[in-house]
Subunit: 360 residues, 2 copies
């Protein structure tokens, strides 16, 4: 009989090796079947876990009757290939697509699932699909719609790269289009028209004058930003344009709701036409919740605010406090040269292990 | 034998009927063969003209040994069809593609060519192709390259629509791209980057503060303009853009050369990256030339400055003073609802006829 061509995962090997094996199973968003099959097959061998599969999302739960339940989650997909497979390892780092975002974290979660049949908290391991693409395909989002009870927990750890330091909370993001209007005219007779691009000078001036807030929430300082991300206008090379649109992205601290963020942006651009585009609320750090506080203490006490938007905001919307905690520099995510330091994989595994260990 | 399906032109009929017949020969730029064939065929029947054909451009010259030679020119092509053929006539106006720009003027020129074997000045009639498209295809441009001697004259009348009033001179036009640079950064950490769109605020502020000149040249007041015609910038919805380009169109009075116009724009945008795009010089009104002064007096004495760019600038570059003078409101050119007042066709023909008449 021919060998099964599918690379198997061996959960008994160390987390670095496991990360390398995971990286070598290409799993660009939409193509997660092979990696999900491998993860599911290995988890099903473990008697202490109840495993379920939804699309290419795999859920595995312990049921030890503990007072507390914690979700440990990681997405299986990566951004598109960029001539950065297979994995390559040097003395201190593993290179390759998904090494940083976030197969190092997935490897640690799989190791915990495989090697800790007994823990001081019940665990819900979640390995999900399509995090890197539109929300409608996101495995965590889909599961929260179809089986919300499966996600119920006191706390969630999203193993996104965070440099092996807890990142709490998550800024909200709002995009609006600010449009100025004019009246077309031939540019040879420009005094007969009104130039909409010239009208946008005031929009840009307000952006330049804007003083972003830096509020402190649960001891973490957030840093907001209000930025033009696109500008467009123009009809023809000899015509005064009758419209100009500046797309503005507001990144706001999690003490504001989506509605408050929108009201603020409208106020900044008072007098202009403002249309709301994408919007996703932030997530409060939630560090006052006992499970979260205990976790932070167990993994070293340092917490940074999270500026970018991650699925911690989804957990937050489900009423579950969540933090990012995983190996890898988040700034390297989505880059062709992404990598993960081997040391960070080891540190994250060790700290989670000691936090979950049943005291003797 | 079947009838020739090609509509014939009858130069003995009045100029309004001739305009209608010309409009009904569709001649969108690049498709002028049929109209050029018809024009050439009729002109070749006239013994007092020497006719030559170049592509779809037809030249017909008298040779009476006069001291002065005048070019009377019109283009045969039109902008694209816009559901505005065939021609339609009401009590006072003729409607349809090319009626205004510029088959009314072409009809008058053909009438003069056909009915005035003797004139007080020698005439070079020019009916040319591809005026509405890029300069490289323009029949006047091509002829000025291949047979410049054929165009030699003391004065030129370009029968572009000018409301039956002489329009003299022509503003120059220059397009430049003004680019601001920044440094990309994730919009969630905007303080680590530099936003190039925000940097364009100053470019727009200078445009808003700009005071256009209104110089008086040969008694005509020109009105300049400096206008953004395009703006673009942006990388992604969550990225601070590293470049933003404002395309600016400078329409300048003909007392400036192309070089002076460019130097002026560079000065306005001092400190910014400025790249020159399209450029076409203006044309001085040239009304002090005796032939031009006599013409203006003969047709009523009123002269307006020309703001838009026309082929008078090409004649000017050949050293031939030129004016626009033809039936039709220039603001209706290129519009679906273009039309020409019948009265203006008649007035223009009558005035040119009396200017060219051999005094008894």
């Amino acid at each position: 009989m021919p060998e099964d061509p599918r690379p198997a995962l061996d959960l008994t090997r160390d987390a670095v090796q496991l990360t390398e094996d995971l990286v070598n199973i290409e799993s660009v968003s939409g193509n997660e079947q092979q990696i999900a099959d491998a993860v599911e097959a290995e988890l099903r061998k473990l008697a202490h876990l109840e495993v379920r599969r939804f699309g290419n999302t795999v859920v595995a739960r312990t049921d030890q009757g503990r007072d507390e339940r914690v979700v440990v989650a990681g997405h299986l997909d990566t951004v598109p290939l960029n001539d950065n497979l297979p994995a390559r390892r040097d003395e201190t780092r593993l290179h390759g697509l998904g090494s940083c975002d976030m197969k190092g974290g997935v490897a640690v979660a799989l190791r915990l699932a495989a090697t800790m049949p007994r823990t001081n908290r019940d665990l819900t391991y979640l390995f999900y699909e399509c995090e890197e693409v539109e929300a409608e395909r996101n495995g965590l989002h889909l599961l929260s719609q179809s089986h919300p009870a499966l996600l119920q927990a006191d706390f969630a750890i999203l193993m996104e790269p965070s440099g092996a330091v807890v990142e709490a909370g998550c800024q909200g993001t709002l995009r609006v289009d600010v449009t100025t209007r004019g009246r077309r005219a031939h540019s040879a007779r420009s005094w007969t028209g009104v130039n909409a691009i010239h009208g946008a000078a005031e929009v840009l001036a307000r952006l330049n004058a804007y003083e972003p807030r830096r509020p402190v929430i649960d001891g973490l300082e957030y840093h907001e930003g209000l930025n033009a991300v696109f500008v467009s206008g123009g009809v023809a090379g000899n015509v005064l344009p009758d419209a100009c649109t500046v797309s503005v992205n507001y990144r706001y601290a999690p003490d504001l709701s989506e509605q408050e963020a929108y009201a603020h942006v409208r106020e900044v651009f008072d007098g202009f036409e403002v249309e709301v585009g994408d919007s996703a609320p932030g997530a409060m750090p939630g560090l006052s919740v006992p499970a979260a506080a205990a976790f932070v203490e167990a993994v070293g006490g340092t917490v940074n605010p999270k500026f970018g938007w991650t699925d911690v905001a989804r957990f937050s919307r489900l009423g579950i406090p969540a933090v990012n905690y995983g190996p890898g520099d988040p700034h390297l995510a989505h880059r062709q040269d992404e990598l993960v330091p081997l040391e960070e994989i080891a540190v994250v595994e060790k700290r989670l292990r000691s936090w979950l260990e049943v005291s003797s």
